[in-house]
Amino acid sequence: MDRDFKALESIKHIILVLSGKGGVGKSSVSVQIAYALKEQNKKVGILDLDLCGPSIPRMLGVEGSKILQDTNGWVPVYVTPDKGLGVMSIGFLLPDKNSAVVWRGPKKSAMIKQFLTDVYWGDLDYLIIDTPPGTSDEHLSVIENLQNVKPDGAVIVTTPQVVSLVDVRKEINFCKQVNLPVLGLIENMSGYVCENCKECTNIFSTGGGKSLCDELGYKFLGYVPIDPQLGIMLDNPSGKESDDSGSTNSFISAYKSSPLFETFKQIATTIQN
């Protein structure tokens, strides 16, 4: 094995979260899968490869944290004191949250390689890799760099509309071309229950992801409805802007009571099998 990738040797499972389309919920799905796995007593890491628009630090309330380095490499930022959930993102390396990362492919690829070689994750059960939309530099680079460690496969996220499904088909073809197994597909933003009359409206239609799975023979991991509460939890997870203590992370505590937690516990269980 390439000695550069020693850091990944101690990781049991590597899962990529992919989607051809942007804004379908890759990052929020990554966070929820990671959290559900953590609750099942797994040691989990999240690697955020969206270099131009990293969302994971904000979602987990660790925005503004700094990366430390020790003799083994970069130390991920831990969300909980028990170090059960580690995060690595370019968000931690930026001088301030407004600065744009205006990079062309080669620089992005170099950064991704560094993330995969220099981060010392320790013994992880699962590493969830969140990706940007599309099938371009980031995706090719991560696949290239993971060649020696054989990732378990990809979880594909879609919303139910045709425009999203078309992009997802492209992503599935990408997986085929690079020999990455598809672990299953999640249909996100499927239906919204009105807070007033409890009537369910399919804002982005429904069922598209399920029928795509039936057609292509992939495992369907579940429907995830739109839940405005989740958006609030992920938008401002520490409750207030500057929570220096870091010990009380409200996403972690609030999410347990969310109905979505049940959905994702099931999805996490399916993925583990």
């Binding site: 990362v101 062309r104 492919g105 080669p106 088909r169 492209k170 071309q177 239609s205």
Partner: protein, 355 residues
């Protein structure tokens, strides 16, 4: 835009476009040395060609957003549809910018009233790995032809031309797995080789050799190859400005701030910001639900903070998604809906800001 040296460049960086890029004494030890050395040197000879080609296009607008899935393509396609139904100097459209009541009335009257030719609109989709414009304009099965004067775009209407990589693929499912340089060279081809001047036919919608009034460029999310390339290639031709699209959550606004930073670095004028998916009116009980909560004040607060034009809010409406999936013009199908009225007001504001 001059290509700026990267932030982590060495002192006295000769600049990535310089003949000495990567070879200069000052480049020793720079993390970007290899990249600079491998890039083509000197000014790009195609840039003046593109400027020449697009010299007759009156307005060039980029639709940008840091985040994916916030509705760039939806906004771009509806903007194109709507612009192609208006005339460039229709005073009523201009006046109605602040008068929502009248917009739907004007929309229904404009066919009869105006003597001016309708705007010629071009819609260019530079989302190479996830093109949505062909679906949203209902022309997925079309192919691009080549004529003596270049690639002929697909005409959705007589005065609305569309170009996208979607028209060049064997099948809708084909993945375009390209790294940056290949994406950039296709974008260059789109700008250099597409002949926008030829009208679909000549039945009064602009004469057959007329130039575009508007070229709308729909972009992929992020701030990377496609964005740098389009800005670089249009440097001489000139970009009127960018319309930024966001959703109300902080996670999206965060990315939009990055995009604003990009626009400032690249010296692109920001026409304004649109807040999409703001609120959802339940079709059963008409209760207004907040789906994506503006925990930090949404786009309006962002615009106030950064002194940008706030173009307006667009509500979520299941019919928009359905119209886009089947390639229809939402604002024409449901002219009285809240979202259509909002769209029209935004388009009028954009026209006003540009003229």
């Amino acid at each position: 835009m001059e290509i700026q040296p990267p932030e982590n460049a060495n002192e006295h960086c000769p600049g990535p476009e310089s003949e000495m890029a990567g070879k200069d004494d000052n480049c020793a030890g720079c993390p970007n040395q290899k990249i600079c050395e491998s890039l083509p040197k000197g000014p790009d000879p195609d840039i003046p060609v593109i400027a020449q080609k697009l010299s007759g296009v009156k307005h060039k607008i980029l639709v940008l957003s840091g985040k994916g899935g916030v509705g760039k393509s939806t906004v771009a396609s509806q903007l194109a549809f709507q612009l192609s139904q208006s005339t460039n100097e229709d005073p009523e459209v201009l006046e109605s910018a602040n008068d929502l009541e009248n917009t739907s009335k004007i929309a229904s009257n404009e066919n009869e009233e105006s003597d001016l030719p309708y705007n010629n609109v071009g819609l260019l989709d530079i989302d190479i790995t996830g093109p949505s414009i062909p679906i949203m304009t209902g022309c997925t099965d079309m192919v691009v032809h080549e004529s003596a004067s270049g690639w002929v775009p697909v005409y959705v209407r007589e005065n609305l031309a569309v170009m996208s990589i979607g028209f060049l693929l064997d099948s809708e499912d084909s993945a375009v797995i390209w790294r940056g340089p290949k994406k950039s060279s296709l974008i260059k081809q789109f700008l250099r080789d597409v002949d926008w001047t030829d009208s679909g036919d000549d039945d009064g919608y602009g004469d057959s050799s007329s130039q575009l009034d508007y070229l709308i460029v729909d972009t992929p999310p992020g701030t990377t190859d496609e964005h740098l390339s389009i800005v670089q290639y249009l440097r001489q031709a000139g970009i009127d400005g960018a319309v930024l699209v966001t959703t109300p959550q902080e996670v999206s606004l965060q990315d939009v701030r990055k995009e604003i930073d990009f626009c400032r670095k690249a010296k692109i004028n920001i026409i304004g910001v649109i807040e999409n998916m703001a609120g959802f009116v339940c079709p059963h009980c008409s209760h207004n639900n907040t789906i994506f909560t503006p925990t930090t004040g949404g786009a309006a607060a962002l615009c106030a903070e950064l002194n940008l034009n706030f173009l307006g809010q667009l509500p979520l409406d299941p019919r928009i998604g359905r119209a886009c999936d089947s390639g229809e013009q939402f604002t024409a199908m449901f002219p009285d809906s809240l979202a259509a009225v909002a769209y029209k007001s935004i388009v009028s504001k954009i026209i006003k800001l540009l003229n």
